[in-house]
């Protein structure tokens, strides 16, 4: 059915796929920024942004008003503003690196998406095949490797700004990322230890992890989040730190560093930093869901295949590959968005840690914990898979 697609030369196909990802990530990032403002408002008992409206939408009764009250047109207003306002370049900055920084920020943010599968479809054999741009075997390693490059953008931005607050912010950013990357990596190791059972072809890809969580049986159907709560917790906390979200946003920390690395930025360059931050969040949430949240499986002990099977009993259309693809992507996206809501919810609940607390948590709490966690599961898995 989609054979024509596979007849397109590979380069163009990959280009189209890449474009598609950008076309999805950008609006979601924009929507996230909007959602952030709305969630913030609701948590603070405010209505939030609710003014902007496109004229012809405003004419639709009820729906127009509803959309306006929801504030969704502020995404367009904000985006338009960011695109069209004067993009000033301060006189005292290192111009080349200053312009380079937001570009550098975007590259890892968009690149990591490549290796993250965001759904699955049933092949002719009825086997669930993950959908992703590049289902690499090194999966998690690629994510770690590329996403940690994001910190270079902050260092570049802070240094190129030639201003003390951005510089302080960028120093904090590098320290914070190094501190938490360790725990993060250690926390996911037990997952891969488990899924790479002796005798199997070894992989660091996400497909196997989700596949593992889709197995029938009690342990199989149980997501890693339940199987390894400590790992999940450490990964979750480290994720906050990696994406510079509250309570770990000492990097941005507007109350003591003005705006930190993006103090001197404005307009679209500033916007790019935020799109990058949200892409990080999206990718991070995706990785968390793949590793600990069952991927595109709807519920614990209810794998996607079972759901498709049940639906197929109602209508045979349900086993159509396209439907399964859309269903799985929707489930996965839903989980990711739920994660992002969690990010926002936490943001408006917890106060920011002090910088020394951030370092202390990272090195003195999370790192020993993750090492202990790794040792525990290494031994446990050794016993189980003996």
């Amino acid at each position: 059915m989609f054979d024509f697609y596979f007849e397109i030369p590979l380069v163009i196909r990959l280009f189209l796929q890449g474009l598609a990802v950008i076309m999805v990530i950008f609006p979601i990032a924009g929507a996230c920024s909007m959602a952030e403002r709305k969630v913030a408002a609701w948590i603070q008992d405010r209505p939030g942004p609710n003014r902007a409206v496109v004229p012809w939408v405003a004419w639709i009764p009820f729906l127009g008003t509803f959309l306006q009250r929801l504030g969704i047109f502020h995404v367009m207003a904000d985006g338009g503003k960011m695109l069209f306002k004067e993009d000033s370049l301060p006189g005292h900055v290192n111009k080349f690196y200053f312009v380079l920084a937001p570009i550098v920020a975007m590259i890892p943010a968009l690149t990591t998406v490549v290796v993250v599968p965001f759904g699955a479809y049933l092949d002719a054999a009825g086997k669930i095949i993950p959908v992703g741009l590049a289902p690499l075997d090194v999966g998690i390693l690629a994510v770690f490797a590329v996403s940690s490059l994001g910190v270079y953008s902050m260092i570049l931005a802070g240094w190129a700004s030639n201003s003390k607050y951005p510089f302080l912010g960028s120093v904090r950013a590098s320290a914070q990322l190094i501190s938490y990357e360790l725990s993060m990596a250690l926390s996911v190791l037990p997952v891969f230890l488990w899924v790479n059972a002796p005798g199997m072809e070894a992989t660091m890809g996400f497909g196997r992890v989700v596949e593992f969580q889709s197995q029938p049986g009690f342990l199989g159907g149980m997501w890693f989040g339940f199987l390894m709560p400590l790992s999940a917790f450490i990964f979750f906390v480290a994720l906050f730190a990696e994406t510079n979200r509250q309570p770990f946003d000492t990097v941005e920390s507007e109350s003591d560093l003005v705006g930190s690395f993006h103090t001197e930025y404005g307009a679209f360059k500033w916007g790019l930093f935020f799109v990058a931050e949200y892409s990080h969040m999206i990718v991070g949430s995706g990785v968390f869901m793949l590793l600990f949240g069952g991927g595109w499986n709807p519920l614990p002990w209810v794998p996607l295949a079972d759901l498709v099977g049940w639906l197929a009993q109602i209508t045979p259309l349900a086993s159509h590959p396209l439907f399964v693809g859309v269903l799985s992507i929707s489930i996965f996206l839903g989980k990711v968005l739920a994660m992002i809501f969690l990010f926002m919810w936490v943001r408006w609940t917890l106060p920011r840690f002090r910088y020394d607390q951030v370092m202390k948590i990272g090195w003195q709490r999370l790192l020993p914990l993750s090492i202990a966690n790794l040792l525990f599961y290494a031994i446990a898995i050794a016993f189980i898979q003996k």
Binding site: W42, D45, P47, W345
Partner: protein
């Protein structure tokens, strides 16, 4: 001075992880997420102005519609940011309802870009002619527009009830009083 040492209860392990507190916090914010909104949508919904509110300073008329200000310039003197500027003038003798007051402002300007809404002008006014009233939003497109002139000040101020009738009494005394 007695020093009372308050024994602090040591934190339990769970408390030291802060996780229960974080969960409690999340619960609180979740409650607020669905709670009814507490804000006013300002231009459409106006707040109720409490009595004694110090809004834009205005000039008021007495119940007879006569201007109360006699341009004593005490408000100009007391105004900390020097927002008030008065040009005093004499009320000509041919105005039957005002001539007995003798003096009134020829020009009365309040620069709302300078005004800090402190209310000292109202406090110092011996004639109770200047009041900070309910009006709280002032805007304009130019600096000139932000200067309230006398006409505008009276338009904003209107007429307030007044129990003194000092000048009415004075006029009555002039007409029927202890004149020799």
């Amino acid at each position: 001075m007695a020093v009372i040492t308050v024994e602090r209860k040591p934190l339990t392990f769970l408390e030291r992880t802060y996780l229960p507190q974080i969960a409690g916090g999340l619960k609180t914010t979740l409650k607020h997420l669905v709670a009814p909104k507490k804000t006013l949508e300002y231009p459409e919904q106006r707040p109720a102005i409490p009595t004694g509110y110090r809004g834009v300073p205005t000039l008021v008329m007495d119940p007879n519609g006569r201007e109360k200000c006699v341009s004593c310039q005490l408000c100009e003197f007391v105004c900390p940011p020097k927002a008030i500027r008065i040009t005093p003038g004499e009320i000509p003798a041919d105005q039957p309802d005002r001539a007995h007051v003798e003096k009134g402002p020829k020009a009365f300007d309040i620069d709302m870009l300078r005004c800090i809404y402190c209310g000292l002008c109202q406090e110092v006014c011996p004639e109770e002619a200047i009041f900070l009233q309910n009006q709280f939003s002032m805007s304009g497109y130019s600096r000139e527009e932000m200067v309230n002139h006398k006409d505008r000040l009276y338009e904003l101020g209107g007429t307030l009830p007044d129990a003194h009738f000092k000048w009415d009494k004075k006029k009555a005394a002039e007409e029927h009083g202890n004149a020799h």
